[in-house]
């Protein structure tokens, strides 16, 4: 991370700007140095190195930037393509003019330098030099002659007289300095006039080259530049001795040039030397200017390229941000806000974009809130529907089921999940037991009424059930027919309850209205018998006796019947407790086991003995059957009534057989204890199936016809249901289902305890 930051900083705008400024300064100094500036002349090489290194550094930084740009371009980073295009454009715009300027500058510089040199000037300078040399040659020749004359005069001068002779000759010939050397170059004597060089102790000595030339007999004569730019003539001549074999001596004459000559000569020398130097330096000077101009141009180009990179990036940055923002919006991120830009058109664009996303975000939030509210409403409706006791179904305009609630499934005794989205036709075909229900809905809906009501009877395992359907048309959407809602209730129990209530009222009135006159009738009959019996003849007495007895007996029978009605009609106070149905069944069956004639006293609707073969009773009791909350006394009556009913039905059966089964069943997500009693008798008459549990509906000629009605009453008092059906081959079946209720959660210990309590109570 630190490395990336360092690279980013190193390749950023600040270092590049600093390098550029420094390089420009260095170039300025170098340019000054090229123009022979004293100040920068000494620094020229250093400046050159600094410039070249700086340009290499700048080039490296630019290359790094370009590399990053290329990587971004290859990775298809947003905006890289545009940056590259802008960069290319800027570079072209910068490089072409700079190249043109460089070309013409170089041309101008080269021509300018060339124009410094002129053939005539060169010729004039050469001539001036030649003239100077010629003029000086004449003076030199004079001095050579003087030297030679002096040498001749010194040939026979003895050593002791050399110095005076030199003084004499110097003054005679007007020479500045005369020095006589031995053959090996040692000074013998020297004479000099007072002058600029008079202060020096040692006379000027010719160098070894000159001395060797003179030893060989040659004369040396030349112009010697001396310090401070002055010129002097030096003539060295051999001095021969007249004595044979004597070594030669060397005489040196030094004569400063006359001031006028010296100045002119110096001027010509300086001008010629400068010109020669310039001519020689023409090439390097051109090279230097070309180098400086090239570096300036290169630096300008590099700075332009660098500026192009940053300008392109700067220009593209808001576009890239905008593109990224639009991508984000396309992805569904409406919270995207772009960084604020300046006051230019990009800034306006960015602000507009931010406004747009903010508004979209608000709209989105609003939509989400609305959706949440709608969802809440839907959930609320679903909750209400789920807890309605009425079944609710909604259909679309093509009669396809859209929604349903739990009560609907419960009432129809089927799982409506697979039927969702399916048509009524499909429903009626796949579920034949509710085909009538489906037909009724379809028929009613086709009439296009806003509201309708109908009643449907469905036959099923639990007997016939009556449903009341109420349909309501849903509002039209965009002028298209909407669907409809069907609300239905199972009114079987209600109808039955109404019927039962009516019966109870009849029973109560009957008992009240009939029972009252019965006792006077009975008493009157007995009084008639007592009072009139003695007054009658025997034959009549017999008739009277039979008649009055009949009256009394029938009245008694009527009383019994009325009492039975009263019992049926009277509301009973239930004494419920946890009860093990299996134990009760075993107790009751024990009473019937092998007993033939007399029947249980608990039943009040049978008084006659039944002389038939006792039916065999087979028990199929579920050992895991939980307890139910019930009144054991009343359940005992239920079992008695059912067993008697079965036994009556099996009266003419050779192999009478009764099955009693219990089991735990789950129905509509609720647990029930199911009691099933089957026989192999003739079954119920089909025409009585609907009224089987109503009072005074009986197949036999015995009893009050209240047996099954009482069973039904007791079962319903325990919130149970029961239904009767005929078996396929032969026989009848009565099924009773009682909800387990809270006692279902009793433990086995509680169960056994409850059972034993019950047994004790019974005992």
């Amino acid at each position: 991370m630190a490395r990336t930051t360092l690279i980013r900083y190193a390749t950023g705008v600040v270092p590049l700007a600093v390098i550029s400024v420094l390089l420009l300064v260095a170039l300025f100094m170098m340019n000054a140095a090229t123009q022979n500036s004293e100040l920068f002349g000494r620094l020229y090489s250093l400046l050159l190195v600094i410039n070249v290194a700086g340009i290499i550094l700048l080039l490296t930084l630019i290359l790094i930037n370009l590399y990053r740009l290329a990587v971004q371009f290859r990775a298809r980073v947003m905006g890289a393509r545009l940056t590259l295009r802008l960069f290319g454009m800027f570079v072209l715009l910068a490089v072409i003019p700079v190249s043109v300027v460089l070309f013409f500058s170089l041309q101008a510089v080269n021509k300018g330098i060339d124009s410094w040199f002129d053939v005539n000037t060169e010729k004039a300078l050469d001539d001036a030099l030649l003239l100077g040399r010629t003029a000086l040659d004449a003076i030199r020749q004079d001095l050579v002659k003087t030297g030679q004359d002096t040498a001749v005069e010194l040939e026979d001068t003895p050593v002791k007289l050399v110095l005076p002779a030199l003084d004499f000759l110097r003054e005679k010939h007007d020479v500045a300095e005369l020095t006589l050397f031995s053959q090996n170059g040692e000074i013998i004597a020297s004479s000099s006039q007072a002058g600029p060089s008079a202060g020096t102790l040692v006379p000027d000595r010719p160098n070894e080259t000159i001395l060797s030339r003179v030893r060989q007999g040659q004369v040396y004569a030349n112009l010697d530049p001396i310090a401070a730019g002055d010129l002097q003539l030096r003539v060295v001549v051999p001095v021969y001795s007249r004595e044979v074999g004597a070594p030669i001596r060397i005489l040196q004459l030094l004569q400063p040039l006359p001031t006028r000559y010296a100045k002119l000569g110096q001027s010509v020398q300086v001008a010629f030397a400068e010109y020669e130097k310039l001519v020689y330096l023409r090439g390097p000077l051109k090279f230097g200017f070309t180098l400086t101009l090239g570096l300036v141009a290169l630096l300008t180009m590099l700075i332009s390229i660098w500026a192009a990179i940053f300008s392109a990036r700067h220009l593209v940055a808001p576009i890239r941000d905008l593109a990224a923002g639009t991508h984000a919006v396309a992805r569904g991120d409406y919270r995207k806000q772009l960084p604020a830009q300046g006051r230019d058109e990009f800034g306006v664009l960015v602000r507009s974009f931010n406004d747009m996303t903010r508004k979209i975000q608000n709209a989105q939030d609003q939509t989400k809130r609305s959706q949440a509210e709608a969802e809440m409403q839907r959930t609320y409706l679903e909750t209400v529907l789920a807890h309605l006791s009425s079944g609710v179904l909604s259909f679309d305009r093509r009669n396809c089921l859209r929604t349903h609630n739990a009560a609907a499934a419960q009432i129809l005794h089927m799982d409506l999940g697979p039927a969702a989205g399916k048509s009524l036709l499909w429903l009626s075909k796949s579920q034949p037991q509710i085909a009538d229900f489906c037909h009724s809905i379809r028929d009613a809906s086709e009439k296009d009424r806003a509201e309708w009501q109908t009643e449907v009877t469905l036959a099923g395992q639990s007997g016939k059930r009556t449903l009341i359907l109420r349909g309501t048309m849903l509002p039209r959407i965009r002028r298209r027919k909407g669907g409809y809602v069907v609300v239905f209730d199972d009114v079987t129990a209600l109808i039955q309850a109404e019927r039962d209530a009516a019966w109870r009222e009849v029973a109560r009135r009957l008992a009240h209205e009939i029972k009252n006159p019965l006792t006077p009738i009975q008493l009157a009959a007995e009084r008639i018998r007592q009072k009139c019996m003695s007054a009658l003849a025997y034959a009549e007495q017999t008739t009277m006796d039979r008649a009055t007895r009949t009256i009394v007996e029938q009245v008694e029978a009527l009383k019994s019947m009325i009492n039975a009605f009263s019992d049926y009609a009277r509301p009973v106070q239930m004494q419920t407790q946890p009860m093990d149905l299996n134990d009760l069944i075993r107790d009751v069956v024990e009473l019937y086991g092998g007993r033939i004639s007399k029947r249980a006293t608990g039943s009040n609707d049978r008084n006659d003995a039944i002389l038939t073969k006792p039916p065999a009773i087979k028990l199929g009791l579920d050992p895991d059957l939980p307890n139910i909350t019930a009144d054991p006394g009343r359940w005992r009556q239920v079992l008695h009534n059912l067993l008697l009913n079965a036994r009556d039905a099996l009266a003419n059966n050779e192999k009478p057989l009764i099955y009693i089964n219990t089991r735990l069943v789950e129905y509509a997500r609720e647990n029930f204890v199911e009691l099933v009693i089957e026989d192999n008798g003739p079954g119920f008459p089909e025409n009585l199936m609907d009224q089987m549990f109503e009072p005074y509906v009986t197949t036999g000629d015995k009893g009050t016809g209240l047996g099954l009605a009482i069973v039904k009453k007791i079962v319903e008092e325990h919130s149970g249901t029961l239904f009767a059906e005929n078996l396929a081959d032969s026989g009848a079946r009565i099924t009773i289902r009682v909800p387990i209720g809270e006692t279902a959660s009793l433990h086995k210990g509680d169960l056994s305890r409850s059972s034993s309590d019950f047994k004790e109570k019974r005992a």
């Binding site: 160098n207 030349n222 010629f272 020669e276 000077l285």
Partner: protein, 193 residues
């Protein structure tokens, strides 16, 4: 060098070899050599005598003849030998000698070779001027500390053309051309007592 490369490309090996030999020969002539140096230590000074062979390349000679003065720097370093670590550099001196051409008198002028810096000596021939320029005649360099009589001393001597003293426009050319790189390199001479 371009024509040599072209010669190589043409597979004219003989020509190329001849050209390369000629070029290396000219470069070989044009070099500075420290022929002999005799350093001696006296009580307070280092006395030095010796001969430096200063051969100029054609380019340098041409520039000299066109009036451009050339500075030759003679660097002298005195070292004391040490057995464990590197040798200790005791002192360094640099002598600057300038040669220039005087067109009017057609002589080469030499400066800086005498103790008196202002002394100008003129030479008719370049060779004699260079010879004088390269001669170290009993030079004496004062020591700023006393020397250890038990240690061994040696001097390193180098003669080189000072490109920095050339006119500014000529410097880039000189730096980028082998003909201008004239240096003897360091040579080592043991100091006698």
């Amino acid at each position: 060098m371009g024509f040599i490369m072209r010669a190589y490309r043409r597979s004219n090996w003989l020509t190329a070899a001849a050209l390369t030999a000629a070029l290396s020969a000219s470069v070989a002539d044009a070099e500075f050599t420290v022929t002999n140096v005799e350093p001696r230590l006296t009580a307070e000074a280092l006395a030095l005598s010796g001969v430096l062979d200063l051969g100029l390349s054609t380019k340098v000679e041409e520039a000299l003849s066109k009036g451009i003065p050339m500075d030759v720097i003679i660097d002298i370093s005195l070292y004391r030998e040490r057995s464990v670590v590197w040798d200790a550099r005791i002192q360094t001196w640099a002598l600057r000698r300038r040669i220039s051409y005087h067109a009017l008198s057609r002589q080469y002028l030499l400066m800086g070779h005498r103790p008196d810096a202002a002394t100008v000596e003129s030479f008719v021939s370049l060779q004699s001027a260079l010879r004088t320029m390269g001669s170290l005649d009993e030079l004496s360099f004062a020591l700023n500390r006393e020397f250890d009589s038990n240690s061994n001393y040696y001097v390193e001597v180098r003669a080189s053309l000072d490109i920095e003293s050339l006119p500014a426009p000529l410097r880039p050319v000189a730096y980028t051309s082998l003909a201008w790189h004239l240096s003897s390199g360091w040579t080592e001479w043991h100091v006698q007592r």
